[in-house]
């Protein structure tokens, strides 16, 4: 690990003011950043420990939204009564991620920015465009069983590893950020970037901007939602495929739907195509299958991961059945 200077501001403006220089990074739970620093993949010269900032609360706002502070721990969010009741998809996604110890450390802001688990990104002896831009992608012609089938480019096919983000994509969350030039709100689908020609850029957050909160807009039917994660072992493992869904069913017809996929996309994958296929259709297995076909329509398999296309379809159908059956 390279040496760095560690500072602990307890004022938000001071934290933002000290983070503008290149090679300065915020540190929250540390569960992703320290891991990567140990491997010399991240080498910040200065770390700004933001854990003393007042970004730790979960508030129900008068307009029906829920505002989640960026430093709220993944476990606290997962077990919060409002989230359990009104946004089960988010609670289940969080509880399917990592381990209890890690969830006690990991924060909402850090989870949004966690980096891929592509094995070549982690192994500094291999070329990787995300780690060293222009060096090449070892996964495209290498071992790519865990890599993405949606949103890939000729430069990178890494999946986005977060479970929480898949639920937030389905819920249409809004990311609140603050930088030296002021505050911004970023709709979830604009927060993460596709790899395209520059896989080293992963989000639209600007250097030095602090994530302050994530807002969940009110969705009338979000209590009827579910997260299903499929993986190589039952727990403490990243997704091969996952689905976050919410459905509003009335008299056997689907009036509204939210669908996002994990484990298969280069970013948390909201599928507007699947949602369109569902709205107006009967709440039955055929409609769910049609939606799954629509969601994976543009999927592109690589040598070892073609199975993910069928797996993702079945995962989505099963998640939709579960929610469709909720009375």
């Amino acid at each position: 690990m390279e040496p760095f200077k560690l500072i602990h501001p307890n004022d938000q403006h001071a934290a933002i003011a000290s983070s503008g220089a290149a090679n300065v990074k915020f540190i929250a739970g540390g569960t992703n950043l320290i891991d990567l620093m140990k491997l010399d993949i991240e080498k910040p010269a200065q770390l700004v420990d933001i854990n003393s900032l007042k970004l730790q609360t979960i508030e129900a706002l008068p307009n029906g939204s829920v505002r989640i502070g960026a430093l709220v721990k993944n476990s606290d969010l997962a077990y919060h009564p409002v989230i359990v009741k009104n946004y089960p998809v988010l609670s289940e996604a969080l509880l399917s991620g990592a381990s209890p110890q890690l969830r006690n450390m990991a924060t909402v802001g850090g989870n949004l920015l966690q980096r891929t688990r592509c094995p070549y990104f982690y192994d500094t002896s291999f070329p990787c465009n995300k780690r060293v831009p222009g060096s090449g992608c070892s996964a495209i012609n290498g071992y790519n069983r865990n890599n993405a089938v949606l949103g890939t480019s000729t430069q990178c096919i890494a999946t986005h590893p977060s479970d929480m983000c898949v639920a937030m994509a389905a819920l249409g969350a809004i990311v609140h950020v603050e930088g030296l030039t002021g505050k911004r709100q970023i709709p979830f689908h604009e927060f993460h970037l596709l790899p395209e020609q520059t896989p080293q850029y992963e989000t639209t957050l600007k250097h030095g901007e602090l994530i302050t909160a994530v807002e969940l807009p009110p969705i009338r039917y979000s209590a009827k939602s579910h997260y299903l994660k499929v993986r190589d072992r039952h727990s403490y493992e990243f997704a091969l495929a996952s689905a976050a869904v919410a459905l509003n069913v009335s008299n056997g017809r689907i009036e509204a739907a939210r669908v996002a996929l994990g484990g298969v996309g280069t970013k948390p994958w909201r599928s507007v195509e699947a949602e369109k296929a569902l709205v107006g259709a009967a709440a039955d297995e055929q409609s769910y299958r049609n939606a799954a076909e629509a969601a994976l329509n543009g999927a592109k398999p690589f040598k070892d991961n073609a199975f993910k296309i069928e797996l993702a379809k079945r995962t989505l159908v099963r998640a939709l059945k579960t929610v469709g059956g909720m009375s």
């Binding site: 040496p3 560690l6 739970g29 381990s99 110890q101 450390m105 039952h234």
Partner: protein
Amino acid sequence: MGNNLGISNTDDEEPSSNGTTRRDFLAQITYAGAGLTLVPLLAGTKDILPQAPPPNAETATINLTVNGQKHALNIDERTTLLDALRENLQMTGTKKGCDHGQCGACTVLINGRRVNSCLTFAAMCQGKEIITIEGLAKGDRLHPMQEAFIKHDAFQCGYCTPGQICSAVGLVNEGHVHNDADIHELMSGNICRCGAYQNIVDAIKEVQNIA
């Protein structure tokens, strides 16, 4: 990595009943068994321990409260809580397995909640109550979870055990366990290579009072 940590895994210094430490014992058998060729290697072990930060490191004086006792430490800022406990405070009860959040051997309680001490910097743990396996017993009276692990034979080699016990104490504090399946799921952050899982579950059930 900055701290020559690869060596520390085998470096426990708990004295055995006859007063020899494990390292002394290793040294003795090596003298006896392999002749003198390995002696310089073993003799050097102590010097490699990362007591003094390397010259280019940023250092800081930090205060840690471990098992109710305050310690002032001058450390390399790169020191994780795990390394501060093991290398600086010589509290080797907390184990290093993977050093990457993947095994749970390093689990300790911070403000009553279980965390992986390998993925937090010691300097970020100031002002918090850190409890390690050494701090669970009250004098000679073992913590109920320690008693239950012994009663149910919930370990073989014992390497994962301090982490398992701290994690199990955290699990009970969290209060989300209602049945066996919950224990399986909520103890999944602790890997046991010996496969003592069923007995670990039995020990936790006893403390949780689940039939």
